[in-house]
């Protein structure tokens, strides 16, 4: 398995599309950062207009933490899309170039090949989220500085700068699990579909549907709580005034289970299906 992993990593490192993905995330991030600055001023003016008449606010609320929060909100649709395209390519490119056949003609186990691909997809996702987190932190704090965070989730919540920083870090960690779920799902789709363009369409559809289902009320409480589209925005719970760590932990644990289920389904189908 170690040998397969190093081979997969070598392929990922040597492919130009890996760097295109990182570059495009950087571009999106910069654009979001610029718009967040202007959007942030407008949102704050709207939210705090009434409060300003009754309370005195010291310092600026348009700071690095607010920008980070806006960036977090904006990135969770664009980034999975790019990640899904790149990670599904780990499988579809091999089919397109005929290298999947060459791989399967070597003395390697089928399940090990696909497991190595899933692991590399997860590692790549973590690398991208880490890269995104680091660059957003550096850019936000260096340009806008630190400060208290004000967010609106049902009501206005104020967090002190240190508390806000910790919540944002945990939000990135929880968001990374969502990204991993999407990447694993896209790899599984790639195993089923095999063709790159069709897989991209299916992956984009999957992303849109899960985002839409997030807002749908399924009436049954269990479905509303534990159906996977309801778990993809668990990171938002980190900005509730009272943190329910237990619920956040359970949600993420169930999302990890869904991720493993998707990976297991993909591995099973890959093992059973003929190559070619």
């Amino acid at each position: 398995m170690r040998l397969l992993l190093s081979a997969e990593l070598l392929k990922l490192v040597k492919q130009s599309k890996t760097y295109y993905a990182l570059g495009s995330i950087m571009v999106i991030e910069t654009l979001i950062l610029i718009t967040a600055y202007f959007q942030g001023s407008t949102i704050l003016d709207l939210l705090l207009d009434n409060l300003k008449q009754s309370f005195y606010f010291e310092g600026t609320l348009l700071n690095g933490n607010l920008i980070m929060y806006i960036v977090l909100n904006s990135l969770w649709f664009n980034v999975p899309l790019i990640l899904m395209i790149v990670t599904s390519g780990i499988v579809t490119d091999e089919y397109k170039d005929g290298t999947m056949q060459t791989l399967m003609l070597q003395a390697v186990d089928k399940w090990k090949v696909i497991t190595a691909k899933y692991i590399v997809a997860v590692l790549f996702t973590l690398l991208v989220i880490g890269f995104m987190m680091l660059t957003t932190f550096i850019l936000s704090y260096s340009i806008f500085g630190s400060g208290d965070l004000v967010v609106y989730i049902n009501t206005l919540n104020f967090f002190e700068a240190d508390d806000a920083f910790h919540r944002i870090c945990w939000a990135f960690a929880s968001g990374a699990l969502t990204m991993i779920f999407y990447c694993v799902a896209s790899m599984t789709l790639a195993i089923f579909i095999r063709e790159a363009a069709k897989t991209w369409i299916a992956a984009a559809l999957f992303l849109i549907i899960t985002t839409l289902l997030l807002k749908v009320d399924f009436v049954v409480p269990v479905i509303n709580t534990y159906f996977f589209p309801k778990l993809i925005d668990t990171w938002q719970q980190l900005f509730y005034y009272r943190l329910d760590w237990n619920q956040i932990f359970i949600n993420n644990a169930i999302l990890i289970l869904y991720t493993l289920l998707f990976a297991a389904a993909g591995t099973y189908v890959f093992h059973k299906k003929d190559i070619g």
Binding site: L4, K14, D97, G98, T99, L103, L105, Q106, G276
Partner: protein, 283 residues
């Protein structure tokens, strides 16, 4: 040794293979002839373990970790990597040596240059075929399966690949099965031939047997052929530099002797055997 017994495979589009049996002994080169869509690739995929047959079984007498190596349809290579890295990846995943010396030896075995450091997307088709064979040979398989290895190659590339295939069979005692719809190329290097049509083996035998049994004409290359009296006894189609003579294989020695007696310098005499003849005769 590679043996497929009573292999059958159906797809939604129809039956791809019907009760096909094939045997390739060590050190032998077997050819599989058939038109496009005759079932060659399906058979190859089954023999390599990529596709499961509906019926029948594949027997490989081998204790090696990789009993069969091969190229199916085209060499599947990482086009963004150079030849060295391609070998490194495919050798690495199966625990074969990946040191510089081992990789260079693998490249040299198939006649690839060591100084090409550019991605394989820049390689000619012939070089890609060689690299594909190099990858297939990693971990010393006992059998090699090559699907349409001559497709798209120029005559020099074909001759060079034939020489490599022969060398592998003779020097390394590898059982080789290759497919083609090009009669000329396949008859030059194969000891045994199978003819497949609509998923069934319709003809088989040693190459010489098949040629002798089915040959009906020969191409003779020489100057002044149009003036040769000897050829008047035969049905002849005169070309620019050669003549296609309809006769039995047994008549050839006498025909050539008579032509030489007439003072005609024969530079080549090759049997003209088409795939259609092999299929038709069998039916």
């Amino acid at each position: 040794m590679l043996t497929g017994t009573n292999l059958s495979k159906s797809y939604s589009s129809g039956k791809a293979l019907d009760n096909v049996s094939i045997h390739i002994p060590p050190g032998q080169i077997c050819g599989l002839l058939g038109r496009n869509g005759a079932g060659k690739t399906t058979l190859f995929k089954i023999l390599c373990g990529l596709v499961k047959p509906d019926q029948g079984q594949v027997i490989i007498n081998s204790k090696r970790s990789k009993p069969v190596g091969g190229i199916i349809e085209r060499p599947g290579l990482y086009n963004f990597l150079n030849a060295y890295d391609n070998i490194r990846i495919f050798a690495g995943i199966q625990g074969a040596p990946t040191n510089k010396h081992a990789i260079e030896q693998t490249l040299l075995k198939v006649g690839l240059p060591l100084d090409r450091k550019d991605p394989v997307r820049n390689f000619s088709l012939g070089m890609k075929q060689r690299l594909g064979i190099a990858i297939a040979l990693i971990n010393d398989p006992e059998c090699l399966v090559l699907d349409e290895p001559f497709s798209g190659l120029d005559p020099i590339g074909v001759a060079s690949l034939i020489s490599l295939i022969r060398k592998l069979a003779e020097e390394e005692n590898i059982a080789i099965l290759l497919s083609s719809h090009m009669m000329g190329e396949i008859s030059k290097c194969c000891h045994f031939l199978y003819v497949i049509e609509k998923g069934e083996i319709v003809n088989s035998g040693t190459t010489n047997e098949l040629i002798n049994a089915h040959i009906t004409s020969f191409s003779i290359t020489a100057s002044n052929l149009s003036s040769a009296d000897t050829l008047k006894k035969y049905e002849v189609e005169i070309g620019t530099n050669d003549a296609r003579v309809v006769c039995e294989a047994a008549d050839i020695p006498a025909l050539l002797t008579e032509l030489l007696r007439e003072g005609i310098q024969v530079t080549a005499c090759t049997p003209v055997l088409t795939l259609e003849q092999l299929i038709k005769k069998a039916n």
